[in-house]
């Protein structure tokens, strides 16, 4: 199937999801407001925390806001596009995956096409505020490379989270039940990723580089963005997420091969 056809098909899927959400307009608006309030609370928490002191391990208030905004935007975008993986255990349990296997169309497209959660975009409002404050009070030298770094961090982060969602979905082939084991890696990274990873010390740094490559989209490019280092190659570290994504895809493929129907 060609790329053009895939994209058109995905847009069709997405528009169906959006229309079905729009059937409950009050609920839709409330969900956006609720998610905004939750994320705004986290923003306030950082603000309150920083009212007592100046910096954490050399990172100022605005640096942390910038970092948190990037992670939050990545996570929200990943949830909007990748929610289909998050609810995958239900898809397997109800036997809907069997139906997908029969269609002459990419499996991943069908899985992510089942959900297009624009009602999760509430935190983007908070992230926008934080990004604005963060950028305004920082000393970032804006040029092509720093703009690229910021965008690469967000896109790379989105892909990283989608990869993790896919990994979680792959486990559903074996365990059927929703194990929620990977929630630590996804929600945990969203919550604790607001501080640059080196705050947590060497051990966590190692884990976040060699096991799950969070540092590629957070710590290293951030160092370059904030002008803490002159090593320009850090700006291109987010590209490395593609390798992680391929690895996740392999696991998914193995999962699909070993799939045994269980639904009715």
């Amino acid at each position: 199937m060609g790329i053009k056809k895939t994209v058109t098909l995905y847009c069709k899927y997405a528009s169906i999801c959006v229309r079905s959400l729009m059937q409950y307009k009050v609920s839709f608006v409330l969900m956006i407001v609720a998610r905004f309030i939750i994320s705004f609370g986290e923003f306030l928490a950082i603000t309150f925390l920083f009212s007592g002191f100046e910096e954490i391990k050399g990172y100022t208030y605005s640096d942390i806001l910038l970092c948190f905004a990037v992670i939050q935007i990545s996570f929200v975008l990943a949830e909007v596009f990748g929610e289909g993986f998050q609810v995958f255990s239900g898809t397997v349990k109800r036997g809907e995956f069997d139906r997908m296997l029969l269609r002459p169309c990419s499996l991943i497209l069908q899985v992510i096409g089942t959900k297009f959660e624009i009602e999760r975009t509430g935190p983007l409002i908070t992230a926008g505020i934080m990004l604005w404050i963060g950028i305004r009070s920082s000393q970032i030298q804006w040029n092509v490379l720093t703009i690229w770094t910021l965008i690469a961090m967000i896109v790379g982060g989105t892909l990283l989270f989608i990869g993790l969602f896919m990994l979680g979905a792959s486990f559903c082939f074996y365990f059927i039940e929703d194990t929620s084991l990977l929630n630590v890696l996804t929600y945990g990274a969203k919550t604790h990723g607001k501080y640059p990873i080196d705050v947590y010390g060497k051990g966590i740094m190692g884990f976040c580089t060699y096991i799950i490559p969070y540092t590629l989209i957070q710590y290293y490019p951030l160092q370059y963005l904030l002008g803490k280092t002159t090593q320009w190659q850090f700006a291109f570290y987010p590209v490395g997420i593609i390798i992680f994504l391929i690895a996740c895809y392999m696991v998914w493929r193995i999962g699909v091969r070993n799939y045994r129907s269980c639904g009715s």
Binding site: L30, A34, G41, G52, F53, G188, H192, V199
Partner: protein, 267 residues
């Protein structure tokens, strides 16, 4: 009274069933707590004496928060009740010759205590066995521990009363999910779940202390680690009792109104 005790027991037995889920939850909570401790450790290393709470207290607060998460959280509300309101099964509840408010209240308490008892001991055990800077400390005194237990129960009562109030509000709207999340988001922040309340600026704290949310987990945890002592402590216990009565009263009143105008959706 016996029938409410039986609802409590039923929910308790159901809660004990999910063991695998408990193991996953335990790992998640330990990692969560540890990550939080790491951040505060870095902060305390630089600004130790300027912080509104000392580092050992913060660590104890974090571990207690993880251990008693299910007692005080407002987001993991009883799904059965929400389901009943949405799909119309609530009609059966109305047929029973009990007070629906007391039934839901006792059921929530049962669910929370059963889950908390299962989860708190492993978390606490691990927290006490942690290496030095992340180690959980013992309560500051025997008296403080006794008060901690008492205020935990009062704080949980306030949380459950608040959640039951939210259930009642769901009768007035067909899309309860949104309302629930709006309230939960606000409460999570105001009860000191994201950062302990002492870290709030003084002016904000003054307002927050007028709300019932400051008397949920904030009081017991800070009494345990010795951050809340003397007059402030006894005043807090008094205010807990006050809010518990007010919230339960409001819930009962609201239920009376619901009962008169209830429209059962679905079938």
């Amino acid at each position: 009274m016996k029938k409410y005790y039986l609802f409590f027991k039923l929910r308790f037995a159901a809660g004990v069933q999910y063991r695998m889920a408990s193991i996953t939850a335990l790992t998640t909570q330990l990692i969560w707590g540890l990550m939080e401790c790491l951040v505060y450790k870095v902060i305390a290393e630089t600004y130790g004496e300027y912080l509104p709470m000392n580092y050992t207290s913060i660590v104890a607060y974090i571990w207690l928060k993880e251990a008693f998460l299910v007692l005080f959280n407002t987001w993991n509300t009883d799904k059965d009740i929400f389901g009943m309101i949405m799909n119309g099964d609530v009609a059966y509840e109305l047929c029973r010759p009990f007070s629906v408010y007391s039934m839901w209240f006792s059921r929530s308490v049962g669910g929370r205590i059963s889950e908390a008892l299962l989860r708190c001991f492993p978390v606490l055990l691990c927290a006490f066995l942690m290496p030095k800077p992340y180690k959980m400390s013992l309560p500051v005194s025997g008296g403080a521990f006794g008060l901690f237990l008492l205020t935990t129960i009062l704080g949980m009562g306030i949380t459950v009363a608040f959640c039951t109030l939210v259930y009642m509000l769901c009768f007035f709207t067909i899309s309860p999910k949104g309302w629930k999340m709006v309230l939960v988001g606000a409460v999570d922040f105001l009860s000191g779940n994201i950062i302990p309340l002492p870290f709030f600026p003084a002016s904000v704290l003054k307002i927050v202390e007028w709300l019932p949310f400051a008397y949920m987990q904030n009081v017991p945890f800070r009494i345990y680690c010795g951050d809340m002592v003397g007059e402030e402590m006894f005043l807090a216990v008094f205010k807990q009792v006050f809010w518990l009565i007010v919230l339960i009263g409001l819930g009962v009143l609201l239920w009376k109104r619901v009962e008169n105008r209830i429209v059962v959706q679905g079938g």
